[in-house]
Symmetry: D2
Subunit: 257 residues, 4 copies
């Protein structure tokens, strides 16, 4: 039986501002990476997003990022490893506080934007993130990492449960890395093409690559994007196409649908 | 055996800025109300302060306040009761995240500045604070409240453990309220006078008042101030004077000294 | 010849977030109240908005507000009068810096949200705002104020040029005040009704009231709203209806169209 | 007649926090680099600092920095060149607004911390800063730059008046650069040694170097530090020593003493 999770970054508004269609996306995804007040969000936005996740039976991930709202966590802020620990621990803590207030469990952690990109290729930063996650959420914590990154390896080495994600709309190199944006084959704009790649991968465990043979990847989740002009429609089409082909869409934690 | 706790607001720096002499004060108090990133502090400042508390065997209180660093939490920000819950839950959560990271328990909660003043006279705000504390820290949580305030009453009604504090340097009305700043007898500037009042209170349970008979007050802690020009010396003198008169200075939780 | 200005609050995004359809609204209004980094905006958002105003020949107003992005300047922050001066002077200065950078003049000032509401009924706050405006923009500065408010009176008394605005979608009391939101007649939801009221006013100088006779109002501008689901379409219909009835839509400064 | 200016970074508090002894330092320096709300300060702190400068007849410099209070402008935030322009223009504008409010002229600009370090070695960033300064302050603006840096060269090429500063407490390489912190000879801790080097330089125009012959440097100002444990005493000793040797301490603008 083919089964996969769909995750997206949600709850990324701030004060009067919103970003993307959280109400729609929550009906499509099975896991929501919820901003923790660093790159986006505030206590009231966290609450609203957590309640939306609960209403839709969506698993909750803490989504810590650089504390840089103006740059939306997409700029590298040069932190020490101790500061990375502090950033992650305090942001996960804030979301856990809000989650306790509304009675929703926090199921996993996925770093945001540039923090995630940095960790993907930097073992020290990944170790710092893992130390914070383990200290705050305990040794059974789940890390959602991009497949084949330093963060995924670090999570395993720290004894955490590592779940891996692939991207619905990105091409891969024969080494299992994402084709850099701007290069040929980096983006897969056509939903049908994206779906057929994903179906092939779910059956065979092999992902096509640009300029090489298909490669085996490990993945429990597909990352989709919650912003952009047609994010909801694209996400919905993707989910429906997968389901009509017999794929069960289910949170990787397994406890929710 | 006479016994009391000494508490002060600490860890109220931010980024490059510090406030008061945390290193000195941590050697005097038995309970530290530690700012949570709302009116003051940031993850790195929290960490430093938590470690300082641990080194000195000082109990840790979460000290949430209005998220208004420029006003240092001393201005009333008109929040809804749901926003009060969110503020308190997220700030306690952030400190608990940092406390988990460095392996220090969070022992109690004391609201900061105007949030505390507001709650003192407003049952709705006190209820909102208590709901957040109970949800995040559980039903065994301890609230440190000014003696005879709505917050103290609310904490009891919510099933929390309420501990009460009195002020070393403030006069009381016959109704058990603080004499308003500016009025005669509001401030007790002389340390010896402050000590003799406190010793009298610790023996009799009765506090002198301005313009009336002494009144019974309930108190497990004495609040002292960590900023101001001679805060450390004053605090040290107060502690030494109390100890030389046979008072044991011990955290109200009892578990620490 | 009937002539009026149309103004709206624009440039109220922040970092990755936007609010309303600035591109559309800039094609409709003749004056843009541009956020200055207090309740909304940041340097890059200011630049983008100023350039959009220039492209569309729209007059630029500085739109200072309480420095409270999370509350979008809609909460009363209890400032001293000196702090009000500082808030307004620094925010106007920031926008003037950006306007100088892109070569656009700043034509007037209109306070935002709760700062505007507060000033409308509070002469002291209005005086503080006027002192700041006069000091920073000089004695020829123009203040755009709600008709018949303390701010309008204060601006005149400080020797500033006061321009008055009325609201397209709000009802008036016989005393010339806005009918409070929630009361009967507070909101005029129908565009045609709004237009016919405005046309009547532009011909006669008299505005209908709820429960009384029409009253004379002074107005050089009509305030329309840039957010809300159909803001652009509503604004466009309003402008077209006014123009088709022979009203010239022109910035109150007169220098632009 | 030997003459030089003394400058220091001042007004670098925020909300309830202060940094260094501004009251003392203002009696020693002739030019104050005043924080503009980016890396430090807020409108009320700017006002207080500007008034202090006026009381002491001290020239005022706008001191823009990365908008990162938590990192105090000492971390490199990766901005585009357009964002550098926006940062500088809006911060200078904010200080000019405050300066207009209290009736004090802004005499020059000196970038802060990492922004200054970055510009020192990066011509593009220097150009962006110069474009903003020229647009906001006009073609007669004065830039205070570290001697022999890209910023100094850029300021001249943009037609601005470039004034150069040297450091009282830092060693120089034979190429005219600062000896990197941590290397031998980087810091000059002894005030008498610092003074004798400065006196020699003021007489000969030649600065000693580490490992080479003295080199000619251009300098209208000496940068001293306003924070640190004995900043005021050190600065005062330095000024007194220079004056007792016949050096006139005067703002480089010349208009003030």
């Amino acid at each position: 039986m083919k089964q996969i999770d769909l995750n997206a970054d949600l709850g990324e508004g701030f004060g009067p501002w919103s970003l993307g269609d959280d109400v729609g996306m929550m009906q499509v995804v099975t896991s929501a990476n919820i901003a923790c007040g660093g790159h986006a969000s505030d206590p009231t936005t966290m609450r609203k997003t957590l309640l939306l996740a609960r209403e839709n039976g969506v698993a909750v991930g803490a989504h810590p990022g650089f504390a840089d709202r103006e740059g939306f966590g997409r700029r590298l802020i040069p932190l020490t490893m101790e500061e990375v620990e502090n950033l992650v621990a305090s942001q996960i803590g804030a979301l856990m506080g809000m989650a306790a207030l509304v009675g929703v469990p926090v199921d996993y952690v996925k770093p945001h934007g540039m923090l995630n990109n940095w960790a993907a290729g930097n073992r020290e930063a990944s170790d710092a993130i893992c130390r914070a996650v383990k200290a705050v959420m305990g040794p059974d914590a789940v890390m959602l990492a991009v497949s084949e990154t330093e963060l995924e390896h670090a999570a395993r080495d720290h004894g955490l449960t590592a779940c891996s994600e692939i991207f619905a709309d990105r091409g891969y190199t024969p080494q299992g890395q994402l084709v850099p944006r701007g290069a040929d084959g980096a983006m897969i704009h056509d939903v049908q093409q994206a779906v057929s790649r994903l179906l092939g991968f779910l059956e065979s465990g092999l992902m096509p690559t640009v300029g090489g043979a298909p490669i085996p990847l490990n993945a429990q989740s597909i990352c989709i994007h919650g912003d952009g002009p047609n994010a909801y429609e694209t996400a919905k089409s993707l989910r429906e196409a997968l389901e009509s082909d017999g794929v069960t869409i289910r949170a990787f934690g397994g406890g929710r649908t």
